[in-house]
Symmetry: C3
Amino acid sequence: MEPLPFVASSRLVDHHCHGVLGTDLDREGFEAALTEASAVSPLGTSLFDSSLGLAVRRRCAPLLDLDPMAPADEYVARRRSLGAAEVNRVFLAAAGIEVFLVDGGLWPEGLTAPSAHVGARELGVLRLEGLAEEVAPGGAAGFPARVREALASTTAVAAKSIAAYRVGLDLAPGRPSDASVVAAVDRWLGGGSPRCADEVVSRFLVWEALERGLPVQFHVGYGDADLALHRCDPLLLTDLLRATAPLGVPVLLLHNYPYHRHAGYLAQVFPHVFADVGLATHAVAHQAGRVLAEALEVVPFGKFLFSTDAYALAELYYLGALFFRRALSEFLVGGMGEDAFGEADAERIAHLIGWENAHRVYQLE
Amino acid sequence: MEPLPFVASSRLVDHHCHGVLGTDLDREGFEAALTEASAVSPLGTSLFDSSLGLAVRRRCAPLLDLDPMAPADEYVARRRSLGAAEVNRVFLAAAGIEVFLVDGGLWPEGLTAPSAHVGARELGVLRLEGLAEEVAPGGAAGFPARVREALASTTAVAAKSIAAYRVGLDLAPGRPSDASVVAAVDRWLGGGSPRCADEVVSRFLVWEALERGLPVQFHVGYGDADLALHRCDPLLLTDLLRATAPLGVPVLLLHNYPYHRHAGYLAQVFPHVFADVGLATHAVAHQAGRVLAEALEVVPFGKFLFSTDAYALAELYYLGALFFRRALSEFLVGGMGEDAFGEADAERIAHLIGWENAHRVYQLE
Amino acid sequence: MEPLPFVASSRLVDHHCHGVLGTDLDREGFEAALTEASAVSPLGTSLFDSSLGLAVRRRCAPLLDLDPMAPADEYVARRRSLGAAEVNRVFLAAAGIEVFLVDGGLWPEGLTAPSAHVGARELGVLRLEGLAEEVAPGGAAGFPARVREALASTTAVAAKSIAAYRVGLDLAPGRPSDASVVAAVDRWLGGGSPRCADEVVSRFLVWEALERGLPVQFHVGYGDADLALHRCDPLLLTDLLRATAPLGVPVLLLHNYPYHRHAGYLAQVFPHVFADVGLATHAVAHQAGRVLAEALEVVPFGKFLFSTDAYALAELYYLGALFFRRALSEFLVGGMGEDAFGEADAERIAHLIGWENAHRVYQLE
């Protein structure tokens, strides 16, 4: 549905996104960026035959002065003729996001900062496994100290764990001793891979960040073919969440689809846990209303945030914000229609989710 | 939606609830009772910023002669000025429940029987782990006999297992031998904790109750931060359900959210299994229609029941019944709108779920 | 909702169904065929008290010249008086399915081919565990060769694995060596059961079929009380799907309820994976719109198919097709109402799902 006026104009913090591609794409490259698959399948059809692909043609085409539902080839051609800089400016401006928290961990050549294209505040998120991979080559013995040093001097407002991708979310609850971390890094370096994929190390990083007061974001649920989705159910974090609750430092469960109800439950019962449905919002596109409503069933409205998880395509910042505003409006209009609350409370809920919760969690301003 | 007339006036058995608090609450105490968290988080906002909190202000305030959506402080103040006895009378009367099956197992000082506040029939549910904790101190050797004695003389119409909270629902299927139970109780007593948290003991209790013809209710799914939700998926009971089916004694899966579809499946394929969505009904409040509809997808209507799982706050009996009636009406109006069935069948479905199934399961009257 | 005209008349390939009963049924037999339970429970009520039962009375009765919502006894009596041949002809004609892919593996006496009752094309699906059970008695040593021979000479257009029923879906990824298969068959034959329930054998069968270019259908999710539903989550196949992706041969995830979102994710991220919601479509009947919409959230429309999974009752082919058409129409009307796409794209989506994807996957024509 069309966004409610006060939702259309609401201020937004995108508390988790990535960089935007500064270079042009051909059709294959563009389609590949529309899916979590590693490539477009010859057995399927075009990725434009998906909710997200249709949304690009319907919602993005008019911003490039094309007709709504312009054919895919025409869309990609127009995009190239305008050039990446202009395309990025158009969609990031249209997204209407005022603050970006940008994950610095996945940054192939060609990515640029979202704020480089539009007047917006940008803050950093430190990828924990990336930090580990940076300091590990210095040797296992000094690993814990080097991690602490880096965390002590970071300007990032949050850390992010991709344990989901590396070892799954079934992390043990306890804080690992330095000795066990050194032993783990030793094994890792002995294995010859530069990739941090060790449960003890991932857990150590999370504890270190939280103990330094740095909120920790976890990749949860939906992602690309590299992960095993059933090992990314946020409920697998239950013991760790129980163990870290006394620290009183926020833990943010990102994406969560299709486990978004599980995340809502955790955000209700653990005082320091928060959730969002980023990535899913633009992936399911016009169906985001149902997914958001499910996510909001049991979570207190003070514990839910907005994010796009946009990566590479400027369209995704725009569509993430657009479908969030539409989905939230659907939730609020539904609630008002049921006479569950009035407009004052609807406005308050929108402001909490889009703006205020992120400010409280990350101590912005 | 507003309840259909025949649903608004339908007779209800609440086949699983708890006691209601006989004393007054301040705002913090009231908020704490609105959530499954152990306390209100300083990192979130008020629990009134939740679907349930809004429902209290919208639906309960007018029954205390306040405006709909009265501010939270005003609501709590009014509640205190009226006093718990009057508040309990008002909401229990408005709930319109005729029969309460009350879990006697969680009964801190200050709780009172729901039927003490309103003319209603009340029947007992025996908490199995509570029984075990009562008779275990008498020694391991006589434990099985003492359990049997207690079950033989109980006036309860059902037993309840909280294995979900103590050991998770991944129970082995077989009936444990007395010797294995004695050994388990021996270990338990040797461990020094008064708390029954042993898989063999929980399983023994379930088998004993069923063999005596006592229907067994299981806590499933949604609950407080004490449990690990992914170990409370009702599907983990599959082997035990298959093993106990030949006894022909009902097993009731309680709450089930967010695994309510799983529970519906079990209730379809196992002859003795029944399900509900208590607790979730008031927790998700105006969104209960979707949750109930999902729960009713594959379950035969002769296998689904109504419960509130209300605890402590009189508001929860009222809201549990209210949102059940609204959600059921939404399901029925939707079905009639789709021309899936007419009013006669809609009335029959409502009567089965609200009244008749409970009478058949618990042999009431 | 009433189907859109272009969906009502759309051509359909039912890419997974079973045989239809050629003999008459009494009420008990008819009810038993309406549920995945092994029998009608004396503790519940009639199976006509279910979404599917109501759909039979509402949608099927008029095709037998009864009033909509005719009582169950009247329906069963009318069915008997017409005779199975006429009943089968009526419902299979009304289903409007042009191509049936029929699983030949579950074929008790009395079953007949769907195409025997109506002008339709019929193609075979080879049940892999059935094949194993046929050739195993010849001895373990020659088992791999006999399986290869059978697969090389089959006229089936696909194979089907019921590993879900026999060992669960948590299959190891690797291609088993012939030696390990021979050892496994040796153990199996030594055990004395004719039933193939060995992980190595099931996995071998899948690899053999795929390497011969035969698409493999997997039973996933919802089924009868024989299975353990939580061991039928399609995500358990993740490692095997990753390992088989390079073969480029389609893998079809059947049914999937209540894990249909999981299946959609797999179909998005793995190039050779496809999904459907057969069986659930008629089981949830008038509620199929929600289930289908959830299934279509992240799956590309080139990766989703239609099936009924109908078995025994001719009504189920008809209801499977009817509720698919209604549910798909609901999805498309909803999308057009949200202005997510127009009629041209809606028609294209319907054609992909109902017809074109099956043709590409199974290389029909």
